[in-house]
C-alpha cells in the first residue's frame, strides 16, 4: 500500500477563511506548531467554509537541498496565494547568511509578500503577522 504524503493545512482561528500551509524547515516551525497548541491555528476540517486566500509560511532555514521542496509546495498552492517568511532564516538567511548552502531568504526562490521578524518569532506574533499581511476581504 502506498499513500501520497499530504501535508496538513490549517485555518487561522480568528479568520477561518485564511488557509495556512507550512514549510517546516527548522526551529521556527516549532513556533508555528505552538500556534496550533495555543488554539490560534487549527487543522483544516471538511466542514470549513471555502478559503479566500492560501498562505505559505516558510519557517526555517532554506538550504539548497530543501529549496526545491519549498518551490514544489508553493507551486501546488492555487491563487490567490501569499508566501510569508517566518523569522530571520527565511527572511534573509538569518545567522547563516554567510553559509554557502543557505539561501539568503526565500525571496531568492519565490515571490515573497511578507517578512515576520524574530529568531524565532513568538507564535502569537506569527499569527498577528499573517493577519496584518493578508489583504482584508
Amino acid at each position: 500500500m502506498s499513500a501520497a504524503f499530504t501535508p496538513i493545512s490549517y485555518r487561522v482561528v480568528a479568520e477561518p477563511t485564511v488557509r495556512v500551509h507550512v514549510s517546516e524547515l527548522a526551529c521556527c516551525a516549532i513556533e508555528v506548531g505552538s500556534a496550533v497548541a495555543l488554539g490560534l491555528l487549527q487543522p483544516e476540517a471538511p466542514q470549513d467554509a471555502p478559503a479566500r486566500i492560501d498562505v505559505l509560511l516558510v519557517s526555517g532555514t532554506v538550504t539548497e537541498l530543501l529549496a526545491p521542496a519549498v518551490q514544489a509546495q508553493w507551486a501546488a498552492i492555487g491563487e490567490p496565494r501569499l508566501a510569508i517568511a517566518v523569522g530571520a532564516c527565511a527572511s534573509s538567511g538569518g545567522p547563516y547568511w554567510d553559509s554557502i548552502v543557505v539561501l539568503n531568504g526565500i525571496s531568492d526562490l519565490i515571490e515573497t509578500s511578507g517578512y515576520i521578524a524574530g529568531c524565532p518569532p513568538d507564535p502569537r506574533r506569527i499569527i498577528d503577522g499573517v493577519l496584518a499581511l493578508v489583504p482584508t476581504p
Binding site: S91, W97, A117, D128
Partner: protein, 103 residues
C-alpha cells in the same frame, strides 16, 4: 517569563562605542558616527556623536548579546512587538524606530 519582542535604544545613553556592532554574531547592527572636539572644561577632548543606528531585524538572531555587552545599558529588550512587513528592506529598523521601542 518574558518574551523577547524586540530591541530598543536609549539614544542619550549610547556613546557610539561600537561594541555592540563588533560583538553581534549576525553582523546586523550598523552605526554611523562622527567625532567632535570639546574645548570647554579643563582640557580639550574628542567625543563620538551618533548619527545613525540601524538593526536589521531580517538578520537579528535575538541572542541578546548586544543588550548584554552595551556598557551604558543603551540597548534594552523592548515589550514592543517585532516587525511584520511586506518588504525585506522595511525590516531594517532605524534610530527613530529603535528609540520608540525604548520609551
Amino acid at each position: 517569563m518574558s518574551v523577547r519582542e524586540s530591541i530598543g535604544l536609549h539614544e542619550q545613553s549610547c556613546t557610539s562605542c561600537l561594541i555592540c556592532v563588533r560583538d553581534c554574531p549576525s553582523q546586523c547592527i550598523e552605526i554611523e558616527r562622527h567625532t567632535e572636539q570639546l574645548t570647554e572644561g579643563r582640557r580639550p577632548k574628542t567625543v563620538h556623536v551618533l548619527d545613525a543606528f540601524r538593526i536589521d531585524y531580517a538578520l537579528c538572531m535575538y541572542c541578546g548579546i548586544c543588550v548584554d555587552v552595551c556598557p551604558t545599558d543603551a540597548l534594552i529588550w523592548s515589550p514592543v512587538a517585532g516587525l511584520a512587513l511586506p518588504s525585506r528592506a522595511a525590516l531594517v529598523s532605524d534610530r527613530e524606530d529603535l528609540a520608540r521601542r525604548a520609551q
